[in-house]
Symmetry: C2
């Protein structure tokens, strides 16, 4: 049988044995490390992956010889040992070797009940997993007669008696586990967890520690941290199984707990010396395996056996705390601590979460567009949201989709739910910016705006004022108010991110439009504001009126007069931002949206506007109609407005400079960064620069104060990227606005893409939604071209990215490799970005050859 | 005075003199050539440009010495001689040298009347152009006392008598002409004609031939072709000025014409020998100057003097005929003939023109969006246009702007006029495609759609049925029906283009959507159809209904059933095209527009649709609303529809293949080209290719006929250009759709750009409207990248351009240099493209070093 095998079919695990994770799987290797640490591990044999593959192909090892390694009449367990524990594997089979003969012997030594239980457990497992018989016939609890019934059923179903030869039993178990690994379901399950197609399985055969007996016996697990918080705490379970008379002559009492517990006797009470030994084993594991482990143990007649040890399952929060504690205890380095926390996991820590332990009454699902959970009363309009907020009643804004005029309503809400839209719809983008939980595209729910109802697929009707919970982490819309877990910005979190800052080599800024955003950015220790959009500042009711007057003005002079009334408000906006950011850079994007966004589009709104402006309705209607655009995304906005209606930028730059003077007088000197949106030609930059310089000179002259500023370009059109060489002649910085750049590179409106994006990604037309994950092949090439050409013209050019992609680890990796100076992302993504950037820097250190060339 | 001059201040023009166009201007050089041909040119002196520049700066030549070159008491003329005759220059001044003494002498020899006339003419010219006096005082006709009055007025205005020294007279004339050249108006005028900023002026001083006298005298011009048609014909004017007794003793009769004329005596009659001498001079000029010249001559006492010769002013039509005739007579080569016709001028020949000789009653102006002129009755709706066409009444469709549903109305009209829109608005693009004269953006005219009136800026109101003329060549909207000139597709035109085809090295195809388009394409000898848009085929009333049923279908199967009814109609469409194109390649673009273009958007239309579909109005409204897009340009169209609603492409490809079989059976074998629109990822092409191959296999199987086809991609997104390398893996050809590619590269909707494009081009933000002139820097780079990467993958890849730019000579030059296989343009641009392509090939031959490298 062994003639073709050019590998050891199995290896007894000893300290000096040649066992590796790659060849034998993680469990085999972990057990060897426990053995090397002198922990009391029962004899264990590792079957390498090659061997298991051969078994699946029908080439069996000599199982009689294998069994012989465990002594006379052994019982063994078989456990899976893939390379990565996350890849799963077939279930453990215990008590292989049980047969009538062994049963009789055990009945003599441990009593019939114990012998029956052990034999029954094996027969059931064998029937289910090896012989693949009907589970209903093999799930009886261990009771009198159950064993006999199971053996009879086995024989009836298979036409042969239950196999009695331990070597044959083991061979069958090995074969069934090896084949289960090759099954389609198992493949799909592990592929979903990131396993490669060729992932292999090792198996571990271990001598059973008999946890049943007359002496102190039982089995359990123990770990030394709490899995949700990561706090130090001894947690575990223990079930004593002494079933004979106690040494002191009394009858043993069932020991049900591990740690002292008011509900009953615990191992800590009844056997403190064994408990102490477990603690010692735990300490060794932590220090030498450099990880928080959960230990599986058995007590066999008063002696502890360490059967297995696995990494403690942990929440993101716990992962951070554990990693920091291990580093602080000198067990791992700070760099290792950083690498042990998955950056994306950090975002879980920044939001409320629905307690995973409580039941969920799900009303529907949508796209999980902005993480976190919140409970509030349903409102269907932005106005109702504001009214609700005024009453201090948390509310959830439910809309078909949101538009810029809903922003104040979104601000007033604790969460947002829309029937339409995708990851990059207005609602999703704004909610992520505000850190509001949001579900978009919840098309299972039917919204009736007129009747103000929300109907679920199963016919439940919710009305304004009903309580709802939005779980933006999972995309579930829940009824009522389930229990929540609080966000955890604890010391561990802050410590880890400080360590990350020491390691990373790309800057992280935040996109922040409001003082609230800016405060969040500072809380998360962003290094500045990389994108401050100014248009939201014009949606306040009093400002909107002035904006509309400006839009309806007939001459530049009239526009200027209207805008002068906005100047003090804008100045105050910028002073507030500069004060909060205390000298950190603030990059302000000049006015970007088309003017028609500021006009009403319904008859009622137009009537009101006509009244407010004291103009005939027909004129208002005509002007609104004249400003309407076929493709607003590609229309009269951004710098095109700046050039054709220059009074807006004049007012904004004046407000910025006056705020600079004011804020610098009472705090750190401010050097504002002014960013021009939607540039497609060098001359646009020249024209804006000339006017901006003139405004700066005027403000310097009027205030007698000197100040610097930096003017740069938001690269959002493919042409701006291609022409970056000449655009950089007049730009101190280029910041890639990857949202619009993606739209234009693909010819794809993010507002409209939702209709087919799902189908496109499902069919693999696009590998990912390019608004979600930076398209490195297309959009990314434009970033590389733009950065390269810009720096050829101006080597000191600051290059960055400020689109939604900025916070994605993949984008950060790309931008680092391209030598970008910083990425800017939503404030709530800053922690993720800081950690991810540190990861990439550390990975680069480990592979120094990769850093050459591209990074400057 | 001459101390600083390092150039000859003036040169007597002799055959051997060193006279060049660059240094002395075209006129000086032309006169030297006439002198070399032994034509009787009076003594002539050339002042080089350097000299004239020095004069303007105050450094005068020795005019006494100059005058002395013309003998005793000379009279001279001064004429401008810039490098290029198109650049204009100051007006000619005659009779310099006239003074009281010379006047007295002439009065004796030629009579007082003649002497007065000569002196008066000089005094008037001097007063106006040199002394810059009030024109009103110096415009009296030559009559008794006029001379004395002019001299007195001169003295009164300048406080000095009229200068008597001929050298001073000449100096003043030279200075005034030199300075006039430097004036702002003159600079602007010549810049508009393409003169460079540093364009210089030479001057020509020529001895006057006295065309007054007792012997046979007079002056005139003669040319040998007609300037509008280019037909051979002797044309000119002559005015005899014998003013003494005739040699035969009689009193001379005024000779008023050049060629025999019933209205009065002509030179041909009264002096056939002189007339014959003129013909000989003309023949020499034509043969030796290799050009049709207009000769200016004088007859001085029976002797002909050739004073000047200029190129005959000619229409585009005449230019073609003249060039072909010169080549056919062996005077110039065919290549020279090609280079003598400006390609853009050809488009004038393809359309009716308003006769330039008739007065115009202009109602308003707009953008000349599609050339040619047409007269018809005003209609304000597409339906009215169709009704009018049914009555055989030519009509002009007047709309605020046009939309796809107006296409049938446009087909039914003889011209289109829109209040809004730019060169690339829907109306403009479609009109150019149809060859319909069009004016767009005629914002001076106010359209009231409800009352069906069109009001001019001066308050005239036009109503439906009133007659209007659209001059799409000039952009003028004219009242009534002015006289027209017919288009001239004459033999010269065809001959020239055949010669062009022999020379050019890039293919020319036409964009043709309909059988009419295809016939036009063949008439203009396009080499195939480069872009056949199929969407218009669905706007016929019966098809539109089926389309709407398809859109409202709930399942793919229902869609398929609806589309099956369109299949025979589509097949017939393609059979017609294949038949007309007779085996020439036809590239069919699959369905492109968003589905909502096929739905009504007004309440009335939706109500009708609900009735037609027998569905509730609310459902129709909801579906229409659900299909509405924020940015249709970037939405669910093109291949995105092809992938998510694959039944449409299945139907279209089947129609194409069935038509291929049918047309190939009865004519030349057809190899259809199928083009996928709006591709942004390779996988889109793979998916469509797989389905298309399956349809082809099915049709081959059903019909038992074999056929080939070529599948390719319309490169319209920047990403498709960047990823052309992998897209070419599945593409036989790439055709750049530069309209959309320009929109996406700039982030600029052509439908919305009109609002600021004028201001942008005026401010030099964009050098040109990029929808009008290919943006070589940005969009062009994507073309180069796409072509290069595509061919790296597939060297035999066919690469072309099929956007609106395809017919522009600049684009053709660009595409040639980039090694493209062909350009495709509107059928009416094909002749221009054929000639332009020949030009570039010839220019390349002249500069062979330029062709290396880029062209394959």
């Amino acid at each position: 049988m062994q003639k073709h095998a050019d590998f050891a079919e199995f290896t007894l695990i000893e300290p000096s044995a040649d066992v590796s994770t790659a060849r034998h799987g993680w469990r085999a290797k972990c057990l060897q490390r426990l053995i090397r640490l002198d922990l009391p591990v029962p004899p264990t044999v590792a079957l390498p992956c090659d061997s298991v593959r051969a078994i699946a192909a029908g080439q069996m090892p000599d199982t009689a010889r294998l069994m012989a390694l465990f002594g006379a009449a052994p019982l063994v367990s078989v456990r899976p040992s893939p390379e990565n524990p996350a890849w799963g594997g077939p279930g453990t089979v215990l008590n292989v070797g049980m047969n009538a003969e062994r049963h009789a012997a055990l009945a003599r030594t441990h009593g019939t009940e114990a012998a029956d239980a052990l034999y029954l457990r094996f027969v059931q497992a064998f029937a289910l997993h090896v012989a693949r018989l009907d589970p209903d016939m093999f799930s009886a609890p261990p009771a009198s007669g159950a064993l006999a019934a199971a053996l009879a059923a086995y024989e009836a179903e298979t036409d042969e008696p239950f196999p009695q030869d331990p070597a044959r039993q083991l061979a069958e178990v090995l074969r069934s586990m090896a084949r289960a690994w090759e099954g389609t379901t198992a493949r799909l399950l592990r592929a979903a967890k990131g396993a490669p197609a060729e992932a292999a399985l090792g198996l571990v055969v271990q001598g059973m520690a008999l946890a049943i007996g007359p002496g102190r016996s039982g089995s359990g697990t123990i770990q030394f941290v709490e899995g949700v918080t990561g706090a130090p705490q001894i947690i575990g379970r223990f079930r004593g199984q002494e079933n004979g008379p106690r040494a002191d002559g009394g009858i043993s009492e069932a020991t049900l707990f591990l740690v002292a517990d008011p509900r009953g006797p615990a191992l800590e009470d009844v056997a403190p010396e064994l408990f102490g030994e477990l603690l010692r084993h735990g300490r060794i594991c932590r220090e030498r395996l450099r990880e928080e482990m959960q230990i599986e143990f058995a007590i066999e007649d008063g002696a502890i056996k360490v059967i297995d040890a696995v990494r403690v399952q942990r929440s993101s929060r716990a992962a951070v705390r554990i990693a920091v504690a291990l580093a602080n205890d000198g067990i791992i380095s700070r760099e290792d601590a950083l690498l042990r926390v998955e950056p994306r996991a950090l975002s879980d820590l920044l939001h409320f979460q629905v307690d995973p332990r409580v039941p969920r009454d799900r009303l529907g699902r949508g796209i999980a567009a902005s993480p976190g959970a919140a409970t509030g009363k349903i409102v269907f309009t932005a106005a109702a949201a504001q009214a609700s907020a005024a009453r201090d009643e948390p509310c959830i804004l439910v809309r078909r989709e949101t538009a810029p005029e809903d922003i104040r309503g979104m601000h007033a809400s604790v969460a947002v739910l829309t029937e339409r839209g995708g990851m990059t719809s207005h609602a999703a983008v704004i909610a992520r910016g505000l850190g509001l939980p949001a579900i978009v595209g919840a098309s299972e729910l039917r919204l009736n705006g007129r009747e103000r109802t929300l109907t679920t697929a199963d016919g439940r009707v919710l009305r304004e004022g009903d309580t709802l919970t939005v779980d933006g982490t999972t995309g579930e819309v829940l009824a009522g108010s389930p229990a929540m877990l609080e966000p955890a910005l604890d010391d561990g979190f802050r410590t880890l991110l400080r360590w990350a800052d020491n390691v990373r080599d790309i800057g992280i800024r935040a996109n922040a439009d409001t003082p609230d955003d800016a405060r969040t950015a500072r809380m998360f220790e962003a290094e500045g504001i990389g994108l401050c959009r100014t248009e939201h500042m014009f949606f306040d009711e009093d400002r909107l009126t002035v904006m509309r007057e400006m839009i309806f003005a007939d001459t530049g002079e009239d526009r200027r007069v209207a805008l002068e009334r906005l100047l003090p408000m804008q100045r105050a906006d910028f002073i507030a931002l500069f004060d909060i950011m205390a000298g950190l850079p603030v990059c302000i994007r000049l006015f970007d949206p088309p003017l028609h966004e500021f006009l009403p589009h319904d008859r009622e709104g137009m009537r009101e506007l006509a009244e407010a402006l004291d103009r005939p309705l027909s004129e208002v209607t005509r002007r609104v109609e004249a400003l309407t655009e076929f493709n607003p995304m590609l229309g009269m906005r951004g710098v095109r407005l700046g050039i054709t209606v220059p009074e807006i930028y004049d007012m904004q730059t004046r407000a910025i400079f006056e705020a600079t003077v004011e804020a610098s007088r009472r705090g750190a000197a401010v050097v504002p960064e002014i960013m021009i949106p939607l540039v497609s030609a060098k001359r646009e930059v020249e024209i804006v620069k000339t006017r901006t310089d003139a405004v700066a000179a005027a403000v310097r002259n009027e205030t007698g104060a000197d100040f610097d500023y930096r003017l740069g370009v938001m690269v959002e059109t493919p042409r701006a990227a291609l022409r970056a060489g000449e655009i950089a002649q007049h730009s101190a910085f280029l910041s890639f606005g990857t949202n619009d750049l993606t739209q234009m590179t693909y010819g794809l409106s993010r507002d409209d893409a939702g209709r087919f994006m799902g189908s496109y990604v499902a069919q693999g037309v696009y590998r990912e939604d390019p608004f979600h994950m930076l398209d490195e092949d297309g959009v990314g090439e434009l970033l590389l071209i733009g950065a390269k050409r810009g720096r050829e013209t101006r080597p000191e050019l600051t290059v960055s990215i400020c689109g939604e992609h900025g916070g994605n680890p993949e984008s950060i990796s790309f931008c680092r490799a391209a030598g970008f100076d910083y990425v800017s992302c939503s404030p709530y993504r800053v922690p993720v970005a800081r950690l991810a950037a540190a990861h990439f820097a550390l990975l680069d250190r480990a592979r120094p050859q990769n850093t050459a060339g591209i990074r400057r």
